[in-house]
Subunit: 270 residues, 2 copies
């Protein structure tokens, strides 16, 4: 599950409650990984308090500041016994740089396959796909080279996730990425909004904010391949959706799902 940042941690906990409720039965242990954050000592207690309020039996606050810690046996044991693994916000490049290719990352992938919930907010959300954005000002985007991408953590394929999306006006970033390769779906998460990626590759929007979808599969033309770096990118025909809580999107069929259609698809796959 990916969250757009600034989710409520002290009031209704609407999004964090969904994260916690998705955990496999009889496993109420939560691991919170603050690697992306430059202020883990401030961030970790907030999540500890929130997940404890939601009924977590234990919350493991994992700082993991370097690659040695990302190979630590004690940390691996805590990951392996947790039903929820949660990545905080911060800098997604720091997150992939420290845990990319590590024993901890391998353990998390195995937990995901085994049915645990893997969730992240802001940088932790952006890093979830196989490829991620790590820099690029929205105001400068739509110019060749203005959006910087690299490998992500590889928890989900076929899409790219951007966060703080409406608050920072990042539509142009996902448009630019769609023009580079229309195969991949752009998912823009507003603050206090999240998206669950269900096993049948159906997205479900949650929280009070918006989830924006930019679908480039029907891109009709673009000049991007012919431009020099810095020149303005032309784009003909992308599809734009705004999902609210309870609505969804079928990644493979590229189909928007209003509440009834989403419920039917999720029911079917149970």
């Amino acid at each position: 599950m990916a969250i757009g940042g600034a989710e409520d941690k002290t009031s209704d906990l609407e999004i964090l409650k969904r994260v916690f409720d998705l955990a496999p039965e009889a496993n109420a242990e939560v691991a919170v990984i603050a690697t992306a954050s430059s202020i883990p000592d401030e961030v970790l207690p907030d999540y500890q308090a929130a997940f404890e309020r939601l009924g977590a039996s234990r919350v493991h606050t994992l700082d993991i500041q370097d690659r040695q810690q990302a190979a630590d046996d004690a940390t691996l044991r805590l990951i392996n016994q947790s039903g929820v693994i949660f990545f905080t916000g911060g800098d997604q490049l720091r997150l992939t740089n420290v845990i990319g290719g590590s024993a901890v990352l391998n353990a998390i992938r195995e937990r995901l396959m085994a049915g645990a919930v893997v969730a992240g907010t802001s940088a932790g959300a952006a890093a979830m796909p196989g490829t991620m954005i790590y820099d690029g000002a929205a105001a400068d985007a739509l110019r060749k080279g203005a959006v910087n991408m690299t490998f992500g953590l590889g928890f989900v394929d076929g899409l790219v996730i951007d966060s703080h999306f409406l608050e920072r006006g990042r539509f142009s970033r996902l448009m630019q990425i769609g023009a580079t390769n229309p195969e991949h779906l752009g998912v823009g998460l507003g603050e206090d909004a999240g998206v669950i990626v269900h096993p049948n590759r159906v997205l479900e929007a949650i929280g009070p904010g918006h989830v924006i979808i930019i679908d480039s599969r029907d891109l009709a033309s673009s000049n991007i391949a012919d431009l020099s770096m810095g020149e303005p990118i032309a784009i003909e025909n992308m599809i734009l959706h705004a999902m609210v809580s309870g609505h969804g999107f079928d990644i493979e069929a590229r189909r928007y799902l209003v509440a009834d259609a989403l419920d039917a698809l999720l029911e079917e796959s149970r």
Copy 2:
């Protein structure tokens, strides 16, 4: 012609040159109207210098700060002899409040019908259609009631114009407006970008920046009519384009025009 704000006034003058070059032959007089601006004394000399550099025979700097001035005979005479009428930026609500329904506005409409160029930047661009946005933060948009609209100056129909579009991430404002009535095309102007509305209702993008088109005609569903004020708006299926200089858009056909297609259509209509 509508310009997204912050157009170059001192270097290449790429956009202002196009404004000036579109003036009817043998009329090199320019009227600049600074009604929207709170600092007309700072803004008017810059435009005077720019248009004089481009070869204007005279530049009439028209302050017009109240409705009495908007009915002034001397001002009307200057409007009536100008081949270019240019509106500065500022606050579009001040612009329509002061000149709406005035003799000056009627004179400008007649000049437009007679072949003069009417152009505006930023607030002056936003005010050109029959209906305009005058307020609404992009970060709060996509919630019912968050974008405020009222009557514009009525120089062009069938579209709504937003300015500083990429710089302030205003995609959500045009999405919200498209959901309220999909008939009207959303035109988002980046800074140092403009759009010429040709007589055959074809748009032509000019300048180094982007012109974003949000076309809601194929809107498939939205919850907007069922919401209470402040609730988040869902949108299924809008079309998104990014035009660069030399590309265009056919408003009636809702068709993106790459450079060759635009040239052919403009040639045809000459």
